[in-house]
Point group: C2
Amino acid sequence: MQFFLEGFRPGDPDVCPAAPAWRDPGGGLPETVDVLIAGCGPAGLCLAAQLARAPGVRTMIVEPKLGPMEKGQADGINVRSMEMFQAFGFAGKVSRESVWINETTFWSRDPDRPDRIRRVGRVQDVEDGLSEMPHVLINQARVHDMFLDVMRNAPTRLTPDYGLKVADLSVDPLGADFPVTVRLERTGPEKTGEVETLRARYVVGCDGARSAVRRAIGGRLHGDAAHEAWGVMDVLAVSEFPDLRMKAIVQSDHGSMLVLPREGGYLVRLYVALDKLRPDERVAERGLGPEDIIAKARRILHPFPFEAREVVWWSIYEIGHRLTDKFDDVPSNAVDTRTPRVFTAGDACHTHSPKAGQGMNVSMGDTFNLGWKLVSVLTGRADASLLHSYSAERRAAAKGLVDFDHRWSRVVGAREETADADAEMPRFQREFIANGRFTAGLTIRYAPSALIGEDRWQKLAGGFEIGTRFHSAPVVRLADARPMHLGHVIEADARWRIFAFAPDDDTGAPGGAIDRLCAHLADDPASPIRAHTPADEDIDAVIDVRAVFQQGFRDLEHGDMPALLRPSKGCYGLCDYEKVFCADAKSGPDIFDLRAIDRARGCLVIVRPDQHVAHVLPLDAMPELSDFFAGILRKAAPG
Amino acid sequence: MQFFLEGFRPGDPDVCPAAPAWRDPGGGLPETVDVLIAGCGPAGLCLAAQLARAPGVRTMIVEPKLGPMEKGQADGINVRSMEMFQAFGFAGKVSRESVWINETTFWSRDPDRPDRIRRVGRVQDVEDGLSEMPHVLINQARVHDMFLDVMRNAPTRLTPDYGLKVADLSVDPLGADFPVTVRLERTGPEKTGEVETLRARYVVGCDGARSAVRRAIGGRLHGDAAHEAWGVMDVLAVSEFPDLRMKAIVQSDHGSMLVLPREGGYLVRLYVALDKLRPDERVAERGLGPEDIIAKARRILHPFPFEAREVVWWSIYEIGHRLTDKFDDVPSNAVDTRTPRVFTAGDACHTHSPKAGQGMNVSMGDTFNLGWKLVSVLTGRADASLLHSYSAERRAAAKGLVDFDHRWSRVVGAREETADADAEMPRFQREFIANGRFTAGLTIRYAPSALIGEDRWQKLAGGFEIGTRFHSAPVVRLADARPMHLGHVIEADARWRIFAFAPDDDTGAPGGAIDRLCAHLADDPASPIRAHTPADEDIDAVIDVRAVFQQGFRDLEHGDMPALLRPSKGCYGLCDYEKVFCADAKSGPDIFDLRAIDRARGCLVIVRPDQHVAHVLPLDAMPELSDFFAGILRKAAPG
């Protein structure tokens, strides 16, 4: 964590100095806002947490409920989301409070005693080396709390407007500054049904599967359902089932269930297959309740007793896999003529079964993609056309998930194990292993575009696959010899990063590749840093350059590094000492080996504000570097 | 973290359910309290945080200042204190927010150019394997904040009474329940000087070097001073000194200084030797100020420019090393006839120079030793004679520190490097390395007593040295395959732990050593658990038994473990799944190798509530085990 750059301040460093308020907290609704977010679920709050950090952006987030969620549906946090939490600063807090899923076990009926189940397989839940983060489960409500903390501590001190829902909206494509007119309806006890209107530059519908925002822009969820009722329950229970603290997938003669441990050491979540539904039947018609879930769970878990002591939360649902055609308000045939004003994210544009634990993750992933783009456009750094990339990138990601979910639901829901008797491993275990990287959230790969380079130089850093998330690895910071993860320098602050990996003989000395790169970036009029950084901002305000050397930290001197890597910042011109890293010789193979970086040539890895690798380039590819950023960022006003 | 044992509760799990209030928060002072703590420094708050967790203990903590500290003197947190913070639940928060001291460098005058300094040595600050925790620096005020959070979240919701200081007190040795009468003086603007009286069972003076509590019980600080004025300063500065983000010890022709990086990446702390004092001179007489510190620092650091941009805090002090004879109110000749009622801790009973970064650590160490003893006595678990051990154990620890500080101050303050020219390494570096375990806080070893066993069976676990702190090592929890540190199961909750390390062939099966031990502990009338656990409390409420097996987690079944290791707890009788651990085969040598545990015989390691190893015993030493606890704990009332 860096703080005190603008002088010492007592107290919690997570609490940023407050920006001037643009709204009276006790007052009525504003007439206009920059961004209106509908819905305080994971998608909405993840977006709000990013926008709250941009003091110039006037954000409002509304939620029909009257206060923060106390217990929620979702609970799965895959490693990719943990990596994102790191950028928000609360991965450690979640790690401590959540339950870690370390092992997944597989149970099916015992062929010798078909009324019983037995464990038929087990697998380490997250493959070694996939991420420095664990796969965890925690109540969605606690994730909300952490985003709310980020919002409250941010310069804008953003808090939700509870008791308010988006009823409808309209977009005036010719409208100038605030083209979206939104009708907001009060849901609180005092003014129920009262409607007010405001105008917004942008509206983001994170308002769930029945999204009014989606409806207003003509979006529809397409897809199918499995016509099967499932029950889900959080329960404090006593059971002899041996894997109550593992993730366990059970297929018995009585049907399928998933057992998931939950935070705190005692709570358990169950997903239980209940009844097949007729094609035209709605799940509510069956009138199923918690006792049905428990009764079925007991039958499936036989011969292991299972006694519920406190049902904390339950729900009956039908598996559906649905997707909208577009995640914004611009029809495909109008992309060239106008830019999006309204977006949907999370369940508002894609729904799937909860059993692969993906819902909350992909919803937050949506708005982690959108957040920095909105900040970039609203602060004038980027043209509004950047916003087209949101629907393009995230719909493809959601499509992958819906397709996966379709297959996986049927694997889990299969009544019987269909593997050949001579197969080495049951089918659900094979599928689980094959899908490990997918369920970890690590297979999302954005396609080449203005934001994602072609793979011409991919071989310079085979382990930083262009389009995928930056796969962190251990390094040692030169100035203070601190062992740490390189990826943890990325914060959710809408900045771009350039990681310059040095060739093997480069020590940062004058004339070396890193020195030439830094000189170019600092001084050449063609430098993207000079082109896109406003004169009154710190040199790393838009593009943050970090160098990684192959030597150990005792072999290099921080004082010998090029000036760009020791920048003077803030009102006092203090040196930022955190730009230079060395190989970590202690913890096994170093980052160059782990990520297959060309040791002879080094390379540049450009990382987007949402942690995705945008490009890999040679260290001397100055024109390509400038062109890349010129395709995304506007020229900054000269000083 | 474990929670929800007594049912689900929404919100932050660190916030415990509130106990019934015993005091009106808006009202006046109570007439009586169980414990009155004088002073909201590290010693006082560390004690308050422990007592706050005991709902039956009525604690009050007073502080003459009118609110929490905003910037403080102390900043060094050694690895031992970080281990203690882990038991309070905030080690992760401190790790994230603090600066880590990874490397210490040594500078002295360049013999070829005596007006300049040059780096003459460097050393890894904390030796590998010494602790799983880093050595960090953070403003004392933030450590206070974290203890205040623990207090606020504890069942008693304890908050300090600011604007109130202990003026005087008297003890009536014959007094019954509340033998200490305390005169409290208001310091706030409204009632300055107003005095009120209350009576306490116990008073703990954490009121600094000029402690009124110490004075009241006739204690005096003895020792000497180095007659040298030093300046200390927290400063935002710009400097070409290469090691501004390392811990650097500098000895130049102009004198000595220490450079310490501070949290946030920009702030630096300097300790600078200023002037020699005459034997009878007081440091204040010199009228030294921040400009003197800066001017001297610039001379010492030559040829590296140093420019202060914001002086955050500064002080001029004289090195003194002083100690009281006794840390409680019972004279040595009266130990057999009465028990202590008044204690001193921290600077109230020992002072030393700040340069070894020990002050805050040893102060917190004092009250981490005292806290569980007070809780044990006040809840009726132990006889009041237990309290004699506080002064005995902590005065020896403080004596070690004062002696060390005496030597180390003179090494650091030496004007000139006195090593032989042919010595491999300068003297200050040699001394630094030799003292590494000491400054890390790891050499404190409590002497044999009722609380610390003899070393007859020490060889069964050579790496758990009796009397020293429990040296954690990695294990895997059986029930959920979670890799973790065994020491992290110890919380600051006044409970004892028995770690049972299994012999190599033991799987927990009936008839094995672990099973026999568990059967004895659960069922035998001679079992210390049966003897000392009240019938209406959970089986692990007083003594918490954990087992560690040599097999991997896939080789054992949690369901096959003895009942004591799968206890039913709380209002629902839920199973506690967190009692059994396995060797971690992945992370190098396992805990049995790392801690030199006899693999053939296994052993018992008894750990005190303050994380110190109390005893090592054979697995079948049932009578010794019972005798040990009978020497400390009272018999619990039968159910």
